[in-house]
């Protein structure tokens, strides 16, 4: 069948799945007094529409920051203002944003930057569009992650095609939409810097560096224009974006600190400042190897791996991480579906599973089950995941015996996830341990993330600096 028709069918299928999920209940439906993320978005539309710009991020009589105060960068605020003008069905806006930003980026990535036959590319489109985590959060919980992730993906695609300036522009826009994109910023920085070094800092490299720097600064300035007049404004916005007073973690999240807290109560042992420095140090240590490797070898393949490693490291070790932030590593892992199908599918399923307590709170159990099953089925079958389990395919040259264990471990893991999901729904936790199931879910997911972080790091670092001739097609 023609490519365009197959792709259209995949896109339509993805859209249908999204819309069907949106018909379910959403975050905070009918739960006063705070309701949920849907109410937050609605409130921001109200604030941006009715108040002048310089009051958006401040606590005033008209704007109570404790009730869903704005805590995303200015582009989100402008977007809310735009939505406020048309009081249509809000879920339409998410669909439109997906259609205009995220989905075209996915299609372009699959067709221009991934390898394989045309059919394989179409399968990649379908599997990426079916990733349950993003669908459930954006259409179930209700958020606009597809805009920031979509813009970041545009950045990757455009950089992959060689247009560095435009790529950095796209990424800066993404950063100005949601500050969590900072998780991706280091790879972008190292990749571009590495490219500049490669082209020689004395000549074209320097010119490229200057062009990119100017683009970044100008874009930032344009986005923050209304706030530039007053330094106090800028400080307040930054204060809203990075609430360092809130502690190492909140609620249950599948990262190191929350899991460590089970054994040692670090939240109570260490002071907030110490916690901050501790997490900063560990995060930097975790991202250092991958960033240096990317700096030395700025190819697309390294770039994708670095994106995964950096964002996953941030997720696992950083300060005040929310479970939804797993979407940030999930995006680059989606890009690896074509190359390393089984680890990617494993990660993506684990990431969806890690958000189970959130989905249960929002009443999204059935969409969670259906989309997870669909994703697993389609991706394993269409991408022939189990056929790509050899040593060579998994690029684990040094660990010879590991690949044979992988299919079995994968099945065990999925079964355990299914079992834990069932238990979370069907059984009531014992009275002494009311948070038993969310905790089990987050610790189990954490172990997966840690293991996969090690794996992706090994894959990235083990690749030789000078590519051998037969691997030439892998380099940019």
């Amino acid at each position: 069948m023609e490519n365009w028709s197959l792709v259209s069918i995949c896109v339509l299928f993805g859209l249908t799945a999204r819309w069907a999920v949106s018909l379910n209940s959403y975050s905070g439906a009918g739960k006063p007094p705070m309701f949920g993320d849907y109410e937050a978005q609605r409130h921001w539309q109200e604030v941006t529409y009715n108040l002048p710009v310089h009051e958006w991020y401040f606590n005033t009589t008209d704007n109570n920051l404790n009730y869903w105060g704005l805590d995303y960068p200015p582009l989100t605020a402008y977007h809310s203002l735009l939505c406020a003008h048309d009081h249509g069905f809000d879920f339409c806006w998410v669909l439109v944003a997906d259609l205009l930003i995220y989905i075209p980026a996915v299609v372009l990535y699959s067709f221009y930057l991934s390898e394989g036959s045309n059919k394989k590319k179409v399968c990649t489109v379908l599997c990426i569009l079916l990733y349950p985590g993003l669908i459930l959060i954006d259409y179930g919980h209700f958020q606009y992650n597809s805009i920031s992730l979509g813009l970041a993906l545009w950045g990757v695609v455009v950089l992959g095609l060689g247009w560095d300036v435009l790529g950095s522009l796209a990424f800066v826009l993404s950063l100005n939409y949601k500050q969590m994109e900072l998780y991706h910023s280091l790879p972008f920085f190292c990749y571009l810097l590495g490219k500049c070094f490669k082209q020689g800092l004395a000549g074209r490299g320097l010119f490229l560096l200057v062009k990119i720097a100017v683009t970044v600064l100008v874009t930032f300035a344009l986005c923050w224009l209304p706030f530039l007049s007053d330094p106090g404004q800028i400080l307040q916005v930054v204060h809203r974006l990075f609430p360092v007073g809130r502690g190492l973690f909140e609620d249950k999240v599948a990262n190191t600190w929350c899991s460590l807290n089970v054994l040692i109560k670090i939240k109570t042992i260490l002071s907030t400042d110490t916690q901050l420095y501790f997490s900063l140090t560990t995060t930097l240590l975790a991202i250092l190897p991958s960033s240096i490797k990317l700096l030395m070898k700025p190819t697309l393949w390294q770039f994708k791996l670095a994106l995964v490693n950096s964002s996953l490291a941030f997720f696992l070790f950083s300060f005040q991480v929310h479970e939804k932030s797993i979407l940030l590593p999930a995006l680059p892992v989606c890009l690896l579906l074509n190359d390393l199908p089984l680890p990617a599918i494993w990660f993506l399923q684990a990431s969806t599973f890690s958000m189970l307590p959130l989905f249960l709170k929002d009443g999204l159990l059935v969409p969670y089950v259906v989309t997870s099953l669909a994703f697993l089925f389609f991706s394993i079958y269409l991408l022939s995941a189990f056929e790509h389990c050899s040593e060579d395919k998994l690029r684990l040259g040094c660990l010879r015996h590991l690949p044979s264990l992988i299919p079995g471990s994968f099945y065990f893991s999925i079964t355990a996830m299914a079992g834990l999901s069932f238990m979370s729904v069907a059984l009531a936790p014992p009275d002494q341990l009311p948070d038993l199931f969310p905790l089990l879910v987050s610790v189990f997911s954490y172990l997966h993330f840690l293991g996969l972080l090690l794996y992706f790091n090994i894959v990235q670092i083990a690749e030789p600096l000078q590519s051998v001739r037969k691997n030439q097609k892998k380099s940019n």
Partner: protein, 523 residues
């Protein structure tokens, strides 16, 4: 190898159905169709009341109007239902919609769909295909599986609207598959069961009857294809007869014993309802009504008619009412029956005179279903599925049929749009329709290598887009919304009936032309 392929594609096709079933099944924030309440009521009646009261009960307006075997089916379902929510089984609890009730109802449709999936698998096994390596997506049986399992009409009607059509059509398709495989007794058994589950399938009974009589009871034909009377096999006739009688006895037996047969029949055939359903199914009578209305308006404008003398009843007001035609003669149930019989007669005669095996029977079946849709009394637009689904099998085997199929399917599916009218359902129905239409066009085009529709047909189908924009976008914003509330339904119905009528004519022409070429061969 082929069998492996079949297994593979049926496995592939299951999750997409599960997605839609699953997603649609939690669509309980929107409105429920009345069919929900209908089936809940039937669960309650069969569970709470003794058998003698089933067809007399009328606390709710949705009385039991399917044959007894379906009532037994609901009875067995009710035993599972009591574990979900006992309250739904109380007859007095009208319009009872607890979440458990909804979940149970939706799940029951999903589970009974297994019959449909199995039937599709069997149909795919019977599909003829040309030799030559094709990739999986290009195989006729894969296309057939996708066209059936992803049929837009079935998805909408069963899972968003709510009915058990998947289950029933599964039995129909299984029966057809058995005939295609030469297992005629099983096919006959399945059809009899189907008839006792929903009597609307009486419309295609002539096709079955004549085919089985001609091709099964007469074991041999003469060299010129005509009947060899001497090869009549009484054994086979008795076998068929005993199947029909035993199933009928199982289903109607208890009611005949209680002397309730007239009551049951009166419930099954309620001719009090009007010529057309509230929303006109796109058949001949829709065009007839349109012409009548146009003439009456014209007559009033030209002062040939007195406005006061015209009957006031509105025909597409959204409720089921009886009405009279103003200018053209009124149509009674017997007239529709005669028209239907006349329309299917040539097709039925052709399989008597020149039987073309199971495929000829299938073609005749589709013609009967479509004929009854075109001329029947109080036809529901959902009945178009009775023609579309079996026709899918023929569509993947012949180029001409594929062309007619595309025309019929697109128009027929579009005519189902008014079933879903809320704003939340609009994206779903548009997306699903686009998915199915895009897939059917591109896959059939690839299979038969080339364009299947002529420019006129293509223009007509593109006109559907214009109609949709008119009804969903232009009309609500126009001043006519309050003065002429029936316009979208009217336009949809009349425009689609043109397409459906055209497909019917083309199908007949192709059937008679085949009949003609057979005769020609003999000469």
């Amino acid at each position: 190898m082929c069998y492996l392929y079949v297994e593979l594609q049926s496995v592939i096709s299951i999750p997409p159905r599960l997605i839609h079933r699953g997603q649609a099944s939690v669509y309980d924030t929107g409105c429920h169709s009345t069919d929900f309440e209908v089936h809940r009521n039937w669960l309650a009646i069969t569970h709470s009341l003794p058998v003698s009261k089933w067809y007399h009960e009328n606390t709710s307006e949705w009385t039991l109007d399917y044959p007894p075997l379906f009532a037994w089916f609901e009875y067995s379902l009710s035993h599972v239902a009591q574990h979900f929510d006992k309250e739904m089984l109380v007859v007095q609890n009208l319009i009872y919609t607890s979440p458990a009730t909804i979940l149970f109802q939706r799940l029951s449709v999903i589970v009974t769909d297994i019959v449909f999936i199995y039937a599709v698998k069997e149909c795919c096994r019977s599909v003829r295909e040309e030799k030559g390596s094709k990739d999986l997506l290009g195989h006729p049986f894969f296309i057939l599986a996708a066209l059936l399992l992803w049929n837009f009409g079935l998805l909408i009607v069963d899972h968003i609207h709510f009915q058990y059509n998947g289950f029933l059509f599964g039995i129909l398709l299984l029966s057809v598959a058995r005939h295609l495989q030469g297992r005629h007794l099983e096919g006959a058994l399945l059809f009899t069961v189907l008839l006792n589950l929903k009597h609307i399938y009486l419309y295609i009974a002539p096709a079955y009857g004549i085919f089985l009589l001609r091709s099964y009871c007469f074991t041999k034909d003469n060299t010129d294809g005509s009947v060899r009377w001497s090869s009549f096999s009484p054994v086979r006739l008795v076998a068929l007869g005993s199947i029909v009688i035993s199933v009928g006895a199982l289903s109607f037996g208890p009611f005949i014993a209680m002397g309730q047969l007239p009551q049951v029949l009166s419930r099954l055939f309620p001719f009090k309802r009007g010529l057309c359903h509230a929303y006109w199914a796109p058949n001949v009578w829709a065009l007839y009504n349109m012409v009548d209305k146009a003439l009456s308006v014209l007559g009033v404008r030209l002062k040939l008619l007195d406005v006061a003398k015209l009957p006031k009843a509105s025909m597409t007001g959204g409720l089921v009412q009886e009405f009279q035609h103003s200018i053209l003669p009124s149509v009674s149930p017997s007239i529709t029956l005669i028209c239907t019989l006349l329309s299917i007669m040539p097709a039925v005669l052709s399989i008597w005179c020149r039987p073309r095996g199971a495929r000829g029977f299938l073609r005749c079946l589709v013609v009967c279903a479509l004929g009854s849709f075109m001329f029947g009394w109080h036809v529901h637009e959902k009945a178009i599925l009775m023609a579309i689904l079996p026709f899918s099998i023929l569509a993947v085997e012949s180029r001409e049929d594929a062309g007619i199929f595309l025309m019929l399917t697109t128009t027929g599916h579009y005519s189902l749009f008014p079933l879903l009218f809320t704003a939340a359902e609009l994206p779903i129905k548009v997306l699903l329709m686009l998915l199915f239409t895009l897939y059917s066009f591109t896959s059939l085009k690839k299979l038969f290598r080339g364009s299947l529709l002529n420019p006129l047909e293509t223009t007509y189908l593109l006109g559907l887009v214009a109609v949709e924009i008119l009804c969903e976008v232009v009309y609500p914003l126009s001043p006519w919304q309050h003065t002429l509330p029936f316009v979208p339904l009217l336009v949809t119905s009349v425009y689609c009936s043109l397409g459906v009528s055209y497909s019917f004519i083309r199908l007949y022409v192709s059937l008679l032309r085949q009949h003609g070429t057979d005769k020609h061969k003999q000469l």
